[in-house]
Amino acid sequence: MSHVIRLCLLLSIVIPVIHLPADALADEADDSPSARQIVARVDSVARAESSEGIILQTITTTGGEEREFRIRVFTKDGNDKMLFRYLEPARVEGVSFLMLDDGKDIWSYFPSTDRVRHLASHVKRQKMMGSDFSYEDMGSSSSFAADYDATLAGTEDCEGNVCYHLTLTPYDSDCAYSRVEIWADTSLYVPLRVDYYDDDGELLKRLLVADIRIIDAHPTPMHYVMTNLQDDSRTTMRIVEIEYDIDLPDAQFTTSELKKR
């Protein structure tokens, strides 16, 4: 299993979605689910049949400078297929990434050379276009349950919400993170906070999620903040447009599609 943070995952980035109605989830939450059941729910929240949206990404560098990107994102099959197309600023307009098979296959396209390149898996832990989200964070679909062993630390307050506190340890030692801590809302099962630990067991990054809205019956976090606590850099993402369960053909997720602008 790929080492993965399955960040986006929860991130559900532009992608989030829930397969169960929010009320149903809330009802089942009263039954004191096991850690594994909670993780499965968290995974399901992050999956959508399909979606199309626009996100506004702001990178705040270590030196305090800001760079803003506008990105159109298409997803299909529970985030198994994703296509990112940079719309702004002008210097990156048309740059595109196609991620398939849970982010295991990545292709990039740069308009200046009109060339599509197949990227090997070693790039997955790297910052995607300089942001604090790695390619793996952005491209992996939600499968915490498959990659991590979960233990329930209890319920705690997180950002004013009652949350399940889960500690995840990877089955595979090759995983990008040595440990992941999740605080998932007890009613919607949306992760509101995620802490990522590096190979030395040090806290590396923290993701905070806010402004959760129900869109097309899908609980959708509209605002994400990923902070790299070791580099002192931060990336925020705000969903400015999102539409779920739309008809996206498989042709939308091919390398040929990368060139369309």
Binding site: T61, E65, P89, A90, K104, D105, H118, A120, S121, R125
Partner: protein, 386 residues
Amino acid sequence: MCRLVVTVTLATLLLLPRAWGIGPELSGYYQYQLRAGAIDREAYVQDYNRLRLDISAQAGERASFRGDYVYQTFNGRTALPLDELLPPAIFEQLPPDAPSAYEFENEHYLDNAFLSFYAGRFMIRVGKQQLPWGTGYAWNPTDLFNVKSLVEPTYEKRGVDAGAIEIPFHTAGSIRAVFAPHGTIEQTARLLRIGEHFGRYDISATIGQLHEERRNFLTGTTSAERRRLLGGDFAGELFGLGVWGEGAYNDWERSDDYAQLVLGVDYTLENGTYLLGEYYWSERGRLRREDYTVQEWLELLFGGRKSLARNYLFLYTSYPLTELIDLSAYGVGNLDDRSLVLIPSLSYNIAENVDLLFNLNLFSGDEASEFGSADHLGFLRVTAYF
């Protein structure tokens, strides 16, 4: 006359989309580059201003238009004498009517202007367009249309007048056919590429033919010669490393046939340091520098070939110093005459749409070698996108 051409070109680019009732989108960049070097131990400077105007428009759901217009002016030392660029032994053999200098000339041109039509999964593109080919980074043996710059392999390529049809299938598979009109039907370039994604690999095969204009610098004549190409390429992953390869066999009508091969590997370290290595072998290359000919040297300078020797190694590394600053270095080594060029560079995203690039071209080798005959250079380039 020049102004008239510019005006008509820009008016066409701007008005065509409007005629379709879909106002054009304007983008592009302004680029300034300052180059400093030395000739006869005397320092010189040269700069250029380059404006690229990109105009694009959507012509309904199934068609789009794009046009790029480039205007570039050079100032300062715009003529570099050949005795500074060639080894003395080669320079002495130049025929009397050979060029005396390499000149940078002001120019303006339509770099790309094409219509794209989409019908289902098919894509048809007609007009002047970039035609990248192959998986190699510094060399592309299967590319019939472009000659990359070894010191800047990712710089944009000029468009080619052609018609292209692409039929994608599965996720990364496609059939791509290109026709580039040239004189007669027989001389029209044609290229076919079939690619598919197997496991973690993209694999493709290419077959093509064109009539290539070849200038004989010794006689001052130009003639076309048929070139047939059979090649293939792949890109994938092996033991965690990115790997790729590209090879081609060139069948010439009159000249000697030859094969070319590229093998590459890359990896990214945990700290973000990116490493890339590429090996290039060309059967037509020389094993000894004494065998380089005047014709080959002039083709290298004025286009038509990008190497003289048989074996090369290209190394590249980059490290993100901050989110906005990258340090990198290229190295191109001629393994046969043991010369090399080293290009350390620094790029800085100064503002949202402004990039700064500084690099050096440091040459090493004896004066008869490919890279040893050149003088060190420095570049400062700023690009503002809009």
